[in-house]
Symmetry: C2
């Protein structure tokens, strides 16, 4: 083992860079989204997933799976969104265990207001460092990693 310099395997190196890239991009984007629209990254992602779902409704379990969040994480995330009136609960007639999260009109408006700014910020950040082709490739590779 050399005194200085990285003696990493490609996989370890890639993972370390994933950690750094996540931390730096999220710090940058999160602060803007929160300051300008009062939404955390996960708030935004949840609203986004709901807005694309059939009937703007999703089971809480499904939301947890897609956000890679624990059950308690979803409960607390939705607590906040419900308190803000952006999401409402709905019960399932055929299975009393499940609760749905439904995007309200107010939530759809909030998402609409935030989406433009946020998507521009994301694109600007990535495009400052990567070419269009590289962004495409990055997305494909990251998409192959486990979702749950």
């Amino acid at each position: 083992m050399s005194v200085t310099g990285t003696s990493h395997t490609p996989a370890v190196d890639a993972y370390t860079r994933l950690l750094r890239a996540h931390a730096s991009t999220t710090r940058c984007l999160s602060s803007r989204l929160l300051a300008d629209h009062g939404l955390s990254i996960n708030d935004y992602e949840a609203l986004q997933l709901l807005s694309q779902a059939e009937g703007r409704v999703l089971k809480r379990v499904e939301l947890a799976r897609r956000l890679v969040l624990s059950p308690s994480g979803v409960t607390r995330l939705l607590d906040g969104l419900e308190a803000s009136g952006l999401v409402e609960r709905a019960s399932c007639p055929t299975d009393l265990r499940v609760t749905y999260a439904r995007l309200t009109d107010s939530g759809a408006c909030a998402l609409g207001r935030a989406a433009g700014d946020h998507e521009r910020a994301v694109a600007a950040l990535l495009e400052r460092h990567l070419s269009d082709d590289e962004i495409e490739t990055l997305g494909e590779l990251l998409g192959k990693l486990p979702d749950r």
Copy 2:
């Protein structure tokens, strides 16, 4: 905008996948590292950075920069590592503001014990989903994103 299906730009899509990939890989690797060696991911990364530094010493500010962590985050991270005896403080003779974090022998041993398991886990996880070439490419692309 279609009722269903993703209508994302490549950049937004890549960023969303970065969020998911980070969440799922970190959840998996973090629980193992913590259970087997009592270290969080950031604990491990900090020890790793120190072990590769000249004299196994790094300014706290430098550690914050490399870990993409806030100043207070570094203070509390090192609080824990100091309490465990894995890292010790050292003062700077030429600048009384700065404090160094130095890896102790005990810290080097702890890192040595954890490194094999953790690196194998990282490699196994990535290799389950990506080819060697893809891992290489992923590392290169992520490395181009901002470090701070």
